[in-house]
């Protein structure tokens, strides 16, 4: 089984992002960048499949500007076999990412693609489902448990009411939720080893994919801020305030 994992380079989850001066875009020029946390989980899952012998080759791919190779290198240091960078300075929408990934999948005949359920910058939660649609493949989204048994995959998904278990025959798409696994820490020797692993660069043009945008962000703004409230001294005062001031109980 050949496994492809999509890793996005995003503003680190600890950074509080703000709009820029004229509200045309977010201000992220000097922000710390990291691999999308859900994608770390996706990488970990693929590496475990390789270690368990269910995956024969595990490949990491990122799409975007040249700096995105950083997160591919991180994935290689975590244990992925090789990397791909689809390089472009253009702004990529989930639909475009899905089309580019579909082109790579068709070129190389992957059996399973694992993505994060959501990129923590755009919070779209779309790409995996779109990729599955474009390939005509089944999808196991928001996975908290994945079992590969020969050519069938069983996926337990986190839902609004608890969890749901599905199964499908490969090929297919899985998107990771937070509780799928706990990603390993990258060890220094592995970072050195990762530098020697193969990282292919390719452009959207070479993949013959139209990357024109369907959406335009016309403004970004801060949400309305809550004004901080007051501290109360004890339970008695709190109940009094909730009952007589806020009138919510």
């Amino acid at each position: 089984m050949k496994v492809l994992v999509a890793v996005k380079r995003v503003v680190d989850y600890n950074v509080k992002v703000r709009p820029n001066g004229d509200g045309s875009d977010v201000e992220i020029a000097n922000a710390k960048m990291s691999m999308n946390p859900f994608d770390e989980i996706a990488v970990e899952e693929a590496v475990r499949m390789k270690e368990a012998g269910t995956a024969t080759e595990v490949v990491a791919i990122s799409l975007g500007e040249a700096a995105c190779q950083d997160v591919v290198r991180t994935a290689l240091a975590m244990g992925m076999d090789r990397g791909v960078l689809v390089e472009t300075d253009a702004r990529l929408e989930p639909l475009t990412v899905a089309k580019l990934l579909a082109a790579i999948v068709k070129r190389e005949q992957f059996d399973l693609v694992i993505l994060g359920k959501q990129a923590i910058d755009d919070d779209s939660n779309q790409t995996g489902q779109m990729l599955a649609a474009l390939l005509g493949w089944p999808q196991g989204t928001f996975a908290s448990h994945v079992v590969v048994d020969d050519d069938r995959v069983q996926v337990t998904r986190e839902t609004d009411t608890g969890s749901q278990t599905l199964s499908f025959k490969l090929p297919g798409v899985v998107t990771s939720d937070l509780r799928l696994n706990e990603p390993r820490y990258v060890k220094l020797p592995n970072i050195m080893k990762a530098k020697k692993k193969h990282l292919e660069k390719i452009t959207p043009l070479e993949l013959d994919v139209d990357i024109s945008t369907h959406l335009e962000t016309i403004a970004v703004a801060e949400p309305t801020q809550r004004s901080g409230g007051i501290k109360v001294s004890d339970a008695k005062e709190l109940v009094d305030k909730l009952r007589n001031e806020a009138r919510v109980i």
Binding site: A133, H214, P223
Partner: protein, 314 residues
């Protein structure tokens, strides 16, 4: 031209989040069609026909839709898309699972989790865990949109009188097999709809200690919620997680107990009307957005709060 709303339901009841999506739809167009795709779900269609603002209910009742697998429902929605300007669904886990598949099959972008409608092609949505609100314009002639239920008033569920049309079902594509649902049983109000939510975090320390929250929730008729840390630690089930990657709630009263207030948590609750925080660390970020805060040990405060609620029933 008309908006098509895809209903979220469990084959017997319409999920309340659908009512919010219907309200969003009525802000776009006068005519709103509502698709019920399920199996043995005629009671849902009958309830849906009474919702104010719905012009026509499309009922696709077939075994292939029983579990609303995206693989089977997406082609149906694609077939019905013609004649509609917008396809809307609440941003529930089902909506998030289905709609991007629909959008990609139609070769259009999706606008996820909208909180406001500026015009028929322009929407607002939170990005970066709600730290920023983006205004997004779509160039597609058909818009595929998921709707954040807390941002729109629910449509009135009674008084409407829509026609119910059966639509032809497609068969089971057999791409995906449903194995089972493990539904968390609870007698409490639904977290997404509750007027009062009592949420616990890592500070609760154990699953047993969540009983302290249960006692408080009982007195307030509240739903229970949790931070990611509490869910990861196994104190409560995953469907109680509130936040960027869990549920978004906006109750009248949200009580955060032993929760520090990470931005990923705030993303799911900061639109609540009144926020209370109980935390022993006076510098915990949760206090910056709380209307009322108590600094102290939750193991002292929770019993005192329950007792106080008993005592002061006017």
């Amino acid at each position: 031209m008309t908006v098509l709303v895809i209903a979220e339901h469990n084959n017997s009841e319409l999920n309340a989040a659908t009512l919010a999506a219907i309200t969003a739809a009525t802000q776009l167009k006068d005519a709103v069609n509502l698709l019920i795709a399920g199996s043995g779900c005629s009671s849902v269609a009958e309830a849906a026909a009474k919702v104010q603002g719905v012009s026509r209910v499309l009922l696709a009742d077939a075994p292939a839709y029983e579990h609303q697998l995206a693989e089977n429902v997406a082609p149906l929605v694609v077939r019905l898309a013609e004649g509609h300007t917008h396809l809307l669904m609440p941003a529930t886990t089902n909506g998030k699972n289905l709609m991007p598949r629909v959008a990609a099959l139609l070769d259009v972008a999706q606008i996820s989790d909208i909180i406001a409608i500026k015009s028929t092609d322009c929407f607002q949505r939170p990005i970066y865990a709600g730290n920023v609100i983006a205004t997004v314009q779509s160039k597609d002639s058909l818009k595929v949109v998921t709707v954040r239920a807390t941002a729109f008033e629910p449509a009135i569920a009674e008084g409407g009188n829509a026609m119910i049309d059966q639509v032809e079902a497609s068969g089971d594509l057999e791409l995906c097999r449903w194995e089972r649902d493990d539904v968390t049983e609870s007698t409490r109000p639904d977290l997404a709809q509750a007027e009062v939510v009592v949420s616990g975090g890592r500070g609760l320390g154990s699953a047993e200690n969540f009983q302290l929250l249960e006692a408080l929730a009982d007195k307030l008729g509240a739903a229970i919620g949790a931070s990611r840390a509490a869910v990861d630690a196994g104190f409560v089930s995953n469907d109680l997680q509130v936040g960027q990657t869990g549920k978004v709630v906006a109750p009248k009263l949200y009580i955060a107990v032993g929760i520090s207030g990470a931005i990923q948590h705030l993303a799911g609750m900061k639109e609540s009307k009144v926020i209370v925080a109980i935390n022993k660390d006076e510098d915990a970020p949760i206090f910056q957005i709380a209307d009322y805060g108590i600094v102290g040990d939750l193991f002292d405060i929770l019993p005192a709060l329950s007792a106080e609620l008993d005592r002061s029933v006017n």
